[in-house]
Amino acid sequence: MKLSKTFDKSLWVFHVNSGSCNACDIEIVAAVTPRYDTERFGIKLVGSPRHADVLLFTGPVTTKMKEKVLRVYEQTPDPKVVLVVGNCGDTTGVYFDSYAVEGPIDTLLPDDAHIIYANGCPVRPENVINGVKEAWLYLEKLRGDDE
């Protein structure tokens, strides 16, 4: 799929809390608010996965949220990037032996999903910005030469 040059410049992000402890969630909000201010790059939190380019997952995916995580992933139009924020989405972290946890997220999503990790427990706002930068670099590769 060829993308236009403008596509990857202002990424719209949809945030999914799949059972996280709030810590990453407040750090994501901190990344949007004035100190870190990701909105200057055109990055914006949106209200629907159908509007999003990047899916931002926090949390280890609890049993009740598993189906909803997959549904949100399917609802997001291609091309999309999954940004897993925090350690528990990556490895389930401190919740590794819980009966109520289905994660990590990469075992649930389809094989062709492009996943980027922003690690930390909780993640630092700088690292969220770095994760979005990685998403840019990936989406840049999909850009068409002739456009």
Binding site: N17, C21, A30, S48, T62, V94, S98, V101
Partner: protein, 417 residues
């Protein structure tokens, strides 16, 4: 969406995903409506169940300290404090005096960041995103101080059995007093915005009223009931850490010339005035801090030995930013793991107070009333509306509720002018 002409002609389900870019976890409240007026509300929690108590009962107490702070990322100090004090109670060891003061300072710093965070969320819910950005900018200052003292912005892992793991030394005092001065200066700005701005007043005054009688009946805790005039604060009723040595009083609106009404406005008053109280407490703690060790059991091996050999049970209580919370811990001899661990967070007590607060209010007021108790297990992700005239069910997504709320603010502003 529900129009002004009544709900019958417009009842339909809006399928905007099950998850929303809310600030916190998913959560469901069922409302029964008569036109625009809410006649019943029923909360349905449980989406975020991670089985933390179960996991804790399969680990040794030392490993549970980092787990306990990951119960909630906003009140991580609260949970590790309760868990460590409950275990200390079971082990019958005491924290050192210096550690008590350090713990108090950290608890109060967390209260500052949590209350400012709440103010931002409340402003966002009624459609003042400028204030959300302003308050979060103000909040970064205390996050810097927390990082300076504890080494991380959130999840500090500072507690250990018998004390703390990081000291607040003499050279940290200038940075602490500088931060406190900054908050004393910016406090007036916050008060001007939240207590004097006419449009915010219109959205918060006489909205979501919790009477003193109902507050007592439903056993609410923290700022939610203090706003109704109930004098209830663990820091004063049953002092822990260094609160026994410190001069504090209940923060209720009538002390500052406001009415003890229990509406969203009174809750804002309580939270803002608690900022000043926290600054005062930290100042007293820094001034009175005794010399000495920061932990009563510096040898890890001896501590593990004690943890394994001790039979006992203990309770840890705390006044979290959202109200009283309790941990119960039981240890048994010869077992490395915790025998039993029970957590009761403050939002659990405050949820039943939703019912009287929502009664008779409008749909557009749902977001701000839901936020008024500062729910920790999630702000309202999705609300199911049952119209009692037609009996049809309608699902409102959080975003739409937010839009309704913003529209109401705009309308009120125009009328006010």
């Amino acid at each position: 969406m529900n129009g002004e002409n009544g709900a019958e002609e417009t009842t339909y389900e809006v399928p905007i995903g099950p998850i929303h870019p809310a600030l916190k976890e998913p959560f469901l409240i069922k409302f029964r409506l008569d036109g625009e007026e809410i006649v019943d509300a029923e909360p349905h929690p449980g989406m975020n169940h991670r089985g933390i108590e179960f996991m804790g009962m399969h680990r040794n107490p030392m490993e549970v300290i980092p787990l306990s702070e990951r119960i909630c990322g906003i009140c991580s100090i609260v949970h590790q404090h309760m868990f460590t004090t409950a275990t200390e109670h079971a082990l019958q060891i005491e924290p050192t005096n210096r550690a008590r003061y350090i713990r108090t300072i950290m608890c109060e710093l967390e209260r500052i960041h949590s209350h400012i965070l709440w103010a931002g969320v409340a402003a966002h819910e009624i459609g003042f995103d400028t204030h959300l950005h302003l308050t979060w900018k103000i909040r970064e200052k205390v996050m810097d101080l927390l990082e300076y003292i504890a080494g991380n912005r959130v999840n500090y892992s500072m507690w250990t059995f018998g004390g703390v793991r990081r000291d607040i030394t003499e050279e940290m005092h200038p940075k602490i007093s500088e931060t406190l001065e900054y908050y004393e200066k910016t406090y007036d700005k916050l008060e001007n915005i939240f207590l004097k701005d006419p449009s915010i007043k219109m959205r918060t005054k006489d909205v979501g009223i919790l009477s003193k009688k109902k507050a007592l009946e439903l056993c609410g805790v923290g700022p939610t009931v203090r706003a109704s005039g109930v004098k209830k604060d663990v820091r004063i009723d049953q002092p822990y850490a260094a609160y026994g040595d410190i001069d504090i009083d209940y923060v209720i609106p009538s002390r500052y010339g406001f009415e003890d009404k229990g509406d969203v406005f009174s809750k804002t008053v309580v939270r803002l005035k608690e900022l000043l109280q926290s600054i005062d407490i930290i100042k007293q703690c820094v001034a009175q801090m005794p010399e000495g060790e920061i932990t009563s059991e510096p040898k890890k091996a001896a501590l593990f030995n004690k943890l394994e050999k001790k039979d006992g049970e203990g309770i840890g209580r705390i006044e979290a930013p959202r109200g009283e919370a309790i941990h119960y811990v039981r240890l048994s001899e010869g077992r490395e793991d915790i025998d039993n661990w029970k957590i009761r967070a403050s939002t659990y007590n405050n949820l039943p107070t939703y019912a009287p607060m929502f009664m008779g209010e409008q749909i557009a007021d749902i977001p701000i009333i839901a936020a008024s108790i500062d729910p920790c297990i999630g702000c309202m992700d999705r609300a199911e509306i049952v119209d009692i005239r037609s009996g049809e069910t309608e699902t409102y997504a959080r975003e739409e509720l937010h839009e309704l709320s913003v529209e109401k603010t705009k309308k009120l502003k125009e009328e006010g002018i």
